[in-house]
């Protein structure tokens, strides 16, 4: 029997594979839309957000695995529940109201908790959720309880929480909220930030089980 005929026989050819949903990388964005964001900041934020979705949509694996949820605050509104990037309403956020940062964080953490329950109930693997808080001011509501919830979530590895300050953001409050070093956006480089975030989400969605996901250094958009 020649090698060719052995190969042709393909005795292991008939196997089929189980259908499983893709593992999910949840990412929640808490976006400050208070009055002080009016004008150029909110316009840049909207443009950055749009580019973020376009980046994810252009990546065949990320579009199936990365799930983004959007919450704006000033007042707190759920703009989008967790959805893959092909589902994007292009909300065009408007600046209004004050900065209920504490309420936004509490709402966001609850959304993450619920989403994880849904994944578990449906046998879907998922990566540790990321929460990004982006704010340009200081909280106008009670935020200490939210800070405690963030610390609790970080220590139980329920999620990873990152804070990004824009312009006159109260960085000292952000330092008290997140256990990670808060980052300061250079000027209004929202596009660069979202470019970095989409790259990070793409590599996370590609990682194998048991790979450790490392965020690339926040270069190009943050002040050191």
């Amino acid at each position: 029997m020649s090698d060719d005929t052995m190969y042709d026989q393909q005795p292991l050819g008939p196997v089929t594979f189980a259908e499983n949903p893709e593992p999910r990388c949840p990412c929640l964005l808490l976006l400050d839309t208070s009055g002080s964001m009016a004008g150029k900041p909110i316009a840049e934020l909207n443009a950055g957000l749009r580019a973020f979705y376009e980046e994810l949509q252009g990546d065949s694996l990320a579009v199936k695995r990365v799930e983004v949820a959007l919450v704006s605050f000033g007042p707190v509104r759920v703009i989008s529940e967790f959805n893959t990037a092909d589902f994007f309403l292009d909300p065009t956020l408007e600046a209004e109201g004050d900065t209920p940062l504490g309420e936004a964080i509490m709402r966001g953490i609850e959304m993450v908790r619920k989403r994880k329950e849904e994944y578990r109930a449906n046998g879907i693997f998922f990566y540790r959720p990321w929460i990004f808080l982006i704010t340009d001011g200081s909280p106008t509501d009670e935020w200490q309880r939210a800070a405690a919830a963030v610390r609790e979530g970080e220590s139980s590895k329920s999620f990873a929480f990152f804070a990004v300050g824009v312009q006159n953001a109260d960085m000292s409050v952000l330092r008290q909220i997140t256990v990670r070093q808060p980052l300061k956006l250079q000027g209004l480089k929202f596009r660069e930030f979202f470019q970095w975030l989409s790259n990070s989400m793409k590599s996370a969605s590609r990682s194998n089980p048991s790979d450790r996901i490392l965020l690339s250094p926040p270069s190009g958009w943050s002040e050191i």
Partner: protein, 254 residues
Amino acid sequence: MIWKHLSLSVTGKSHSDRNEPGQDYCRTGAVRFADRDFFIGLAADGAGSTIRGGIGAEIACETLYLQVLSLIRTGRTLSSVTDDDARAWIAASREAILIRAQDDGQRLKDYACTLIGSVLSEDHAIFFQIGDGCIVTGNDDGYHTVFWPEQGEYANTTFFVSDDDFLDHIRIDRRERPPGEIALFTDGLQNLVLSFSTRTVHEGFFRPLFTVLRKNPEKGGLDLTAQLHTLLTRDDVTARSDDDKTLILAVNIP
């Protein structure tokens, strides 16, 4: 009773693209001692976050294999092997990895790996596992997992032989009769052969493989290892998992 078996580890695209070696390892053997037949199947998956996980995987399998062999050579029956004996096998593997790490001047966790294994005799079966990967048994009632793959909370976390609390994550099970068919595989294959929404084994993968293995004559048959390599590196397989993949198959011929 004899055991026909087939096993292979292939390097996934995620490693080969970066010119890295594979981190999976497996060791199998059908052993006859004092008129008794045994099958030993072991597979380990080095942690993707380490560069020495593959070394850990190899040491874990080879050490444990020798542990089981020396026990068989004492003439003990498998049913007399306690869960503590099985834990001692794994502890010995961990110890061997630790010695290697110390020799290399590295940390034990740089050699992190999972481990799954089975030892089968004519009248008994022992299964053990730490971390992800899975053991599937086939009998008249179909295919079932011994342990559902253990994962940390997230898709990219699991448990390793090198963990400080490894004893807490060792799972051990046994049966009074060996299965007619057994497969052991690492997590690179998990998503293709298990259905996670229904927590069931995908029969369409295993049944054809076991049928071929059972029918293939001992001598003059197909080179099934080459066939298995073709299967595990097929485009439709690598498109769904670019991780290393190990598959061990064994069938019991009365």
